[in-house]
Amino acid sequence: MLSKTYDPLKGKKLEILSAEGKVIKPSLMPKVDLASVRKWYETMVFARVADQKAIQYQRQGRMLTYAPSIGQEAASLGAIIPTEERDWLVPAFRELAGWLQKGAPLENLFLYWYGNEAGSLLPDSVRMLPISVPIASQLTHAVGLAMAIDYEEKDEVVIAFCGDGGTSQGEFHEALNFAGVFESPVVFVIQNNQFAISVSRKDQTRSKTLAQKAIAYGIPGIQVDGNDLFAMIAATQEAVERARAGEGPTLIEAVTYRLGPHTTSDDPSIYRSDEEVEEWKEKDPILRLKRYLISKKKLTEDEDQALYKQFEEEVNTIFSRIEESQSPTLDDVFSYTYASLTPNLEKQLRNAKQFLEGGE
């Protein structure tokens, strides 16, 4: 079992693909074909472009606050790759590449950050909960889903994300404890991007690793190079298989870095150094996979540049659709609080309409 070999208490971290794009642990390399790797690379690039465009739109005053995932594409994507369509994704709010891999349209994500709840109404085929803004409380929902899956004796697994800051929340611990006690089919992924807004990882907890927190709950935990797509796939694959086999939850710590700001309202230059950022840029998950694909002759520099260009156009088209989309109606904002309007809401809606129509 990987979590035995890569014991977080001994400071071991699972790595398969080096920053130079070389497979350094061939024996652990997941069975993947190059065509799929190329497709995943494209998903990562697409996510990167969408993020960068979103920041740009925001700077132009065309988008509301946005939380980019730049630098975390592999952690997010790698954790979803070993799951099936029937499995569930419970995201935090920074899961763009995983979101896309799960089949959720970029339209929805943009619509949400554009300020329209309709973005959270995902197609039925996409088994995924909406973005959760409160930190870490979504993990208990993931456990509940997993408990229900057990109850219904379904062959499904839940994969749930939170950040390094999220591990300090009480509900992170309640979720892990519940999942351990009930042996629920859930995989927790911590996206340790080194910061919770401005608070650094070392100021978040005295634990040496975040993965070792699993030990307190009697479940396996493993620290993984989160910028290494193959390591993320390998670790999650094992965790998903364990969950499917009825062997309970796993905690995965994906060690990664938030290359962008926390959100478009944040200025990371006041709490981290340029040198640190530069260092992490060398470990960029996209750069790493690009080097790998080029060495395997599955990608050329020209093709790569063409990809960025093509995706920029696609993202622009999607975003212009968002800008042209209708704002919610008055009925819309009243409609979804209860199954049907309470008498009180009926009255408030009637008054609001009268005011609009009467113009007084």
């Binding site: 959270s120 109404l121 929902h141 509940g144 509900e171 199954a339 008498p343």
Partner: protein, 325 residues
Amino acid sequence: MTLLNNIGALNQAFDQEMELNPRIVIYGEDAGFEGGVFRATKGLQEKYGKKRCFDTPLAEAGIVGSAIGMAIYGLKPVVEIQFSGFVLPAFNEIVAHAARYRNRSHGKYPLSMVIRMPYGGGIRALEHHSESIEALFAHIPGLKVVIPSTPYDTKGLMIAAIRDPDPVIFMEPKRIYRAFKQEVPNEPYTVEIGKAKILQTGTDLTLVAWGAMVREAQKAIDLLNDSNISVELIDLRTISPIDRKAIVTSTKKTGRFLVVHEAVSSFGPGAELISLVTEDAFLSLEAPPSRLTGYDIPVPLPKGEHHFMITPQKIASEIKRLIAY
């Protein structure tokens, strides 16, 4: 018909609904093997197995949060918070999530679930066991808040809560869990959520109460038997959504309004009721609408609790003051 107290009515409601609907799961701290510290879920684990009725770790946010996940999946969780005073660790789950999922997901993830908890004072309990915090929940859009006062209503409202498409906070007046019995139909039935009940018609004053205060109000009316004062007594039954129509219609008829609740006064449910009476029945009022409530202090420990409690004497005296106004 069977003669049941409130606990028996709850237990029967769970039993019958679980029998009918295999997707119902019931859990909480001590809710499984022991059947809850008040025994509301007694026998359910034995009958339906550990899969459908079980104990959880001692963690309220975990209980409510996992119930949210279950409800999203399509199960029907009915979870127990041991005492309402301990729901606060789960408050985030209730307010930030349970109340909002339907809205957040634009209707895709409605949460049909029940969060039940014993509440209220008068049982000589420890600190944090006596508060009435219905207003905290009633203030939150997306929740329904139900409080029964009789075994008949307890069974009917609980079944309605379980079948309701929205999250229901079901607050149980623990002081009257076993205080009296009532004939309850054997078969499952529902009492509509959102409808108040006129317990007694009258012409001089509208008195609104719920939970354990209904009994105190009835005793107050008995005290006034010789006084020729005709009180209309309404059991609110649902704190949210409120039955505005019943309150306003009655107040228009009687011209006087009194609300009695155990909860502390400021920003309490009484304020809401008086506000709606003033908005919709102002011209009918012959006295300022009034509230008789707990004081704005933490409920005192048992030795001092009598100061805090609403008694029939206090209610009768307030009724007389309003009549003489």
